[in-house]
Symmetry: C2
Subunit: 210 residues, 2 copies
């Protein structure tokens, strides 16, 4: 498989974690979002939306949108499971993932930050914008982890929720967000820092890292 992504993109990072947790080998095809490499014609032929990530599965299929890619990985490579076996648990894990995937990350990615800057925000304004959505979402996640977590977001093994959370924590640090109010999330982050699949997915370990 070939993963088209960007080292520091949260959606690429979460996809790498899931691929690693599933034990799947993949090649990295980097696109530098800062120079808008994702707008190049060759990539647009692969993914007309011009966003990362895209996963070429090797049988002619090109998957886009990380939530869809992660569900596809779970369906086609069920072991180890990244969703619980029961519908209620699965809904809970997906809800946690959506807090990051729908309520935090979409507001803080590069194309949106550029638009916020165009409205007149300076760097402090950008940090405040990002922090607002991160803190709101992390408050919800912290409460959910207190209720459902046991070392990881849900139970005692990594799930899709952790694939979403860890890159969002990395991003929160880039925006200088005070994370002291989220001890359970930090505990998960500390655990991920010792986990080879999360470690190998870290932006700094990617071939296109600065």
């Amino acid at each position: 498989m070939i993963l088209h992504g960007y080292w520091r993109s949260g959606t690429s990072y979460r996809t790498r974690i899931a691929l690693n947790l599933k034990g799947l080998a993949y090649e990295t095809a980097p696109l530098d979002l800062r120079t808008e490499a994702q707008g190049a014609e060759a990539y647009l032929r692969l993914n007309p939306q011009g966003l990362v990530p895209a996963l070429e599965t090797g049988d002619g299929l090109v998957l886009t949108q990380s939530p869809a890619i992660l569900e596809w990985l779970e369906e086609t490579h069920p072991e180890p499971a990244l969703l619980p076996p029961d519908a209620a648990g699965r809904a809970q894990v997906r809800a946690m993932a959506a807090v990051v995937g729908c309520d935090i990350h979409p507001l803080n990615n590069l194309r949106v930050l550029k638009a916020v800057r165009a409205l007149g925000a300076d760097q402090a304004g950008l940090d405040a914008w990002a922090a607002r959505w991160i803190v709101d979402g992390f408050k919800a996640l912290e409460a959910l982890v207190v209720r459902h977590g046991d070392g990881w977001c849900f139970g005692d093994r990594p799930t899709l929720a952790d694939c979403y959370l860890i890159p969002q924590l990395y991003s929160a640090r880039r925006f200088h967000v005070d994370l002291a109010g989220f001890p359970r999330l930090l505990e998960i982050e500390a655990r991920a820092e010792l986990h080879p699949d999360f470690l190998a997915a870290h932006p700094d370990r990617q071939p296109d890292a600065d």
Copy 2:
């Protein structure tokens, strides 16, 4: 089941469509987002994140986050299916849903528009902000529907992708977005206007509509 939502919220609207397509009866518990009713203590006990929708399933379970609710509906009430049977098709439908759910809607909801206004945008600026993300996402969706649709977003029956698309088209009209460039999406909208399950889910038909 009890659906806590708001007549004009896109995430509530998409959940109503899915419930109707599945033939599931539910009560409506309205929350007026304009007066921040979703921040009231009784609702926060149900959904600590204070966002809509939330679905009480009747057996003590409270589901939040519409992407998680829709997947739960599909798992627990598989007929009629809102996802194709094969993993590749499912990934395609989920990718279309994510274009709306991750790349468009999160940027245009009420809490975000308030934040954009606080950066100094006037009504024209808000419309331009919303239109930017809607047009970008609809371009991607139009191309995907050309490739995969046959009356609906994917194939000849409604899927989760249509549950996401129709509310986003409704929202696009509120922001005065020019939709002439999206003939295939408009064709789906016209078909939904004749479909009783989509009609019954329309904001104007909800008990809390203005």
